[in-house]
Symmetry: D3
Subunit: 255 residues, 6 copies
């Protein structure tokens, strides 16, 4: 069943203020329901936001506790889109989807006037600016295909050397074992993949990039910080989601 709050978005509000209000407001949405992960993501986002930029973080009230497959993504997308809808009535300037599968990205762009970025998208594009090849280290092996489809969809195939998995679930990322496994997999990537940068393939790894980067001597990129900054850039340049073509607001079917 589709909650009424979402259906209402299908008739987008008529009145919109054209000028971004001071301060710029960016909503960072964790599409799973694990509040500790939302908090971690929020801390990373706030640590990089420019002064004068307000970071609003949230997660859906119900839905998957972690997103580890296609079904989780589909269910998490509903909560995510609900938050985008709310954001549009709250004067949000831009959005970040803080889950490495970038679930609901194009649907979110249909709803939003401003820019929407996924953290996988942001991380991959940034990696392509500072290296000629990156590897991705993600959690469960079953999400490998999801990452590979994103690589393709974003045109990053020539840059992505390999998608690697530590085969541990998202919610175990806080354990020392998981951290050791990530470090180990990163080392393997550098030895075997001929890559010059590493992307952390899960929103729950957002706090690890600085330390790993120092230990490994190569850029280790997590997408939350990059996505926040890219949204800042697009908003500051007045670059909004194009409403010509398939990202136009959803069609109204009735009433």
């Amino acid at each position: 069943m589709i909650p009424a709050s979402i259906c209402s978005v299908m008739h987008p509000p008529k009145v919109r203020c054209e000028m971004p209000q001071a301060p710029m407001r960016i909503k960072v949405i964790n599409p799973n329901t694990t509040v500790s992960m939302t908090d971690k993501i929020g801390a990373v986002a706030r640590s990089v936001a420019s002064s004068g930029v307000e970071i609003i973080t949230c997660n859906p009230e119900s839905g998957p506790a972690a997103i580890e497959g296609h079904y989780d993504e589909a269910v998490g997308t509903v909560g995510l889109l609900d938050e985008i809808c709310k954001g549009e009535t709250e004067g949000i300037d831009g959005y970040v989807i803080a889950c490495f599968g970038d679930p609901g990205l194009l649907a979110a762009r249909e709803l939003a006037k401003g820019p929407v970025l996924g953290i996988a998208e942001a991380a991959m594009h940034a990696a392509s600016f500072i290296s000629t090849g990156f590897s991705i280290v993600t959690t469960l092996g079953r999400t490998r295909v999801i990452a590979q489809r994103l690589v393709h969809n974003y045109g990053m195939t020539p840059f992505c050397r390999k998608v690697r998995a530590i085969d541990l679930p998202v919610l175990s990322l806080e354990t020392p074992d998981a951290r050791a496994a990530i470090l180990q997999e990163c080392r393997l990537a550098l030895e075997e993949d001929h890559c010059g940068a590493i992307i952390l393939g899960c929103g729950g790894m957002a706090d690890l990039s600085a330390q790993l980067s120092q230990e490994l001597g190569v850029p280790v990129i997590e997408g939350v910080s990059v996505a926040v900054k890219l949204v800042e850039v697009l908003v500051s340049l007045g670059l909004k989601t194009s409403k010509v073509g398939d990202l136009a607001y959803p069609t109204c079917k009735s009433d």
Copy 2:
């Protein structure tokens, strides 16, 4: 908000009967809420089903009346997955997603023990068996990108000559104008695209293929009938969705 009925699926039932029951039962799900379209799709499905195959049709109670974009797909997917969940408790042997965007296809495959086919997928594969190039005629231009992504995802790029749109909404397909526009666009496809077959790019066109095929002298393929038959084939051969890899049942996060 995620309905409880869906969440329960995240803990897949332990006991499953291994042998398909007689008769084979195929559930054809229209992910939009327009009952007349469900009926039309059902009629086509039943007209081609083998004897001894029961066709169950349904559509979500709420959601978009037509699926004409990424947001519609995301919302319609929730209702669709709900129907898959129900189907798994009803002993369904296989499923058809009866919307040309094949929304939620991989998520549905995670949930289902048996095969799941999308009608776009089915139509494209069939077209590649009987021609070396096809064109797709769809409804609104904004859905063109969706079709093109499917073409890519299914590996059909070498076969797809062009995706064409008549620029009329899904719910207008019953009008004579729409039918004339479809015929006209098909003629253009044959003249300009060097294609040998045409695919009708909307579940709501399912009843038009026979007549158009006769008028145009080339195979005109709609996906509902093909998808039903392909599901029959897979079920009869015992080919179920692989539960090794990323189509395994969704992970259980808690309790």
Copy 3:
């Protein structure tokens, strides 16, 4: 020298009956001359054919005893096309080319009014319906390139994880060593390739899929059964080879 029986096909018979006769007749052609292989293929084909479908099997009288390279394919194609020609005068409704290289597929489609499927083609498409990645296990390493070209031609590149070879000739497939080698290679595929399904890359392996599937716990697909069922589907839906474009009947050059 081209046998007269083939040349005559270049002037396709004028009168063709439009309605498929009861029963549906599908000709399964083994393009090599090894009768025991034809028999094995026939047994598999008949075991899956719907009631009311007659399976006719055959192989050329002369030509290669096994098809293990480009030259074998070219020579085997002549005998194959001869059988298609005969089939067109015998009222055959559809054809299966029962050799994993799918030799002569497009030439056969030019000759045939009804659908023609190759077993590699059939297996790959089916695998893409029930997994997001498959590996192929074939016989001699030298045929690997042939399989890879088919993968590409059918658009299956995003789905094919790897083409593997056991490096044993086709005609040794009946030996216990060969069976052990196939099982071993399948296990390696599952461990190393992140695949969810396995395709058996030789018509001579057609009888192994059920047992391997059970031992390995993933779908193991052989193409003969799938191809027979797909031809059934296309015939039952009235989907014939498009005669517009490059699959039109061969041109008549003289007389």
Copy 4:
């Protein structure tokens, strides 16, 4: 039925002379049976051959009078391979397949010790050396797909702007109308395709390149002359067909 002369090739002659005899001998095989076309091709080949290179031309005694589709190719390939077999016993150093579809190319390479080139292959590679984009002008529209597959197989996709057809049969190429149609299509290619070179897509156009090149002011390339010269190059450098991998001599199945 396979002629005995071909079957014997499956057991390649044991004794082969290692050193190319003086003079170098290149066999140019027209795989169709139209002698006037063989003569025209031979004249072009001889006009470019280096002194000390003997050009042997031939065509099969039976088979299609022109190659205008997949079936024609399959049948013509048999005669072609027969000529390669004969050539291997005659001490031929290299071969040219003088038909724009390059039928039987890989099979021929399996049989031959020395290099084998197709005229489409030769023309496309040469065009990529002197322009960043070429268009192909061929005969019947139905052969367009064949040319496009070659473009792909040879990796020429980034260079090929368009495959164009004059929609006239191969055997009409001598008529003034055909020549006018070719010139007209070349002009269209230059105006619309942003190409810097044009490839003539039929062995029967081999005598037209010089005049068209002068009229159009861009390189107009036909493959016979290029292929002959490329075979000369490979032979003179001692570069023979690799017998490691899938181009090794055909396997012997019995006796």
Copy 5:
């Protein structure tokens, strides 16, 4: 002959300060010698730079007055790299290559410690964030291939609908005719290409995006402003050019 100033760079300075100095300093290099274009580019760059970011602009003293081909790029690259070398001794934090062909991008990255972005690269990535398809409008038709290669190298093929040229030289861009031609070509792109955004394909068009965007109702993106902001982002996140792999400092060959 290679000027001594460049050769010295092959032995990169030993001492480098690790912390970005306040203020951040970004060098925007116009690789052609036309000072008025450098000024225009500088004005755009400064208009978008964050407070606390110093923009340094420059162009080589000698070299091509405009970059309109591969040779112009090769020659302009030398002057560009000279400016990067100087920048490395001046404590520059990041660079923008302000020419739409992004000449010398990877060579510049080898020399630079911080990030280097090209304006074509920046524009394309930004366009992919706010639309699912863009067209490029550039100057001379002969530069079309250059843009297309960039599209490919950056993985933007799925997003780029078409590269269009107004067929006027770079140095004529100030004329009213050129402006009219650009507007006209943008309109054609929207009508024919199904694109949602337009990229201006020349550094000399940097001042036109705002007005065109307003006239056309879609995002019109020029790369200078985007590249400056992206460099700001990378510098602020501490993301420097990876020195592991092929972007490591140039090797020292002697002394």
Copy 6:
């Protein structure tokens, strides 16, 4: 700073002799400054040149002693283009760029009336004629990306199995250790890559192909000899660089 000698080329000489002079003159340019390497390359070139063909060899006076990265390529390109300019006034008929990265290839083609070939380009095309897959063995790992981009640009992706590096610098190639490392890497390529031919990925390896080919039993191809012969072919056929499109002479910006 751009030397005057180069700038003058931007105004290409008006008078050009249309007919190739006897003898044909091919200039083989080593873009690095190591004379011993130029000599080695020249010896190889002369050993394969046809009688009546004069080989002129040269290298820039200043620039990198070896080309081992993007920056080296950019700097070496300037000297290379200078030599092309000189060649155009000296009546050179065609050019070879004797460095495996093929630096400046398209810029050189803009300047030259006759054909220009790179040795990587030549080697890859030749390898595709005599095998269905090759591996490349190059020097430093950091040049791997350069080779891979060439593979892509020339459309050789379907043929290139792997790019391998021995991780030794170009200038160490004369040592016994380097030769052993090359042989070892070639053996690995044959064992692991399923390749049928090997390409030596450095101009400095030009003298090794014959011996390696004999030791390994597969074609081992170096590009200098092939490129010289291909230029001979193009010149003898009158196939010059197309001056229509993006390889036209550089535009004149002023005076």
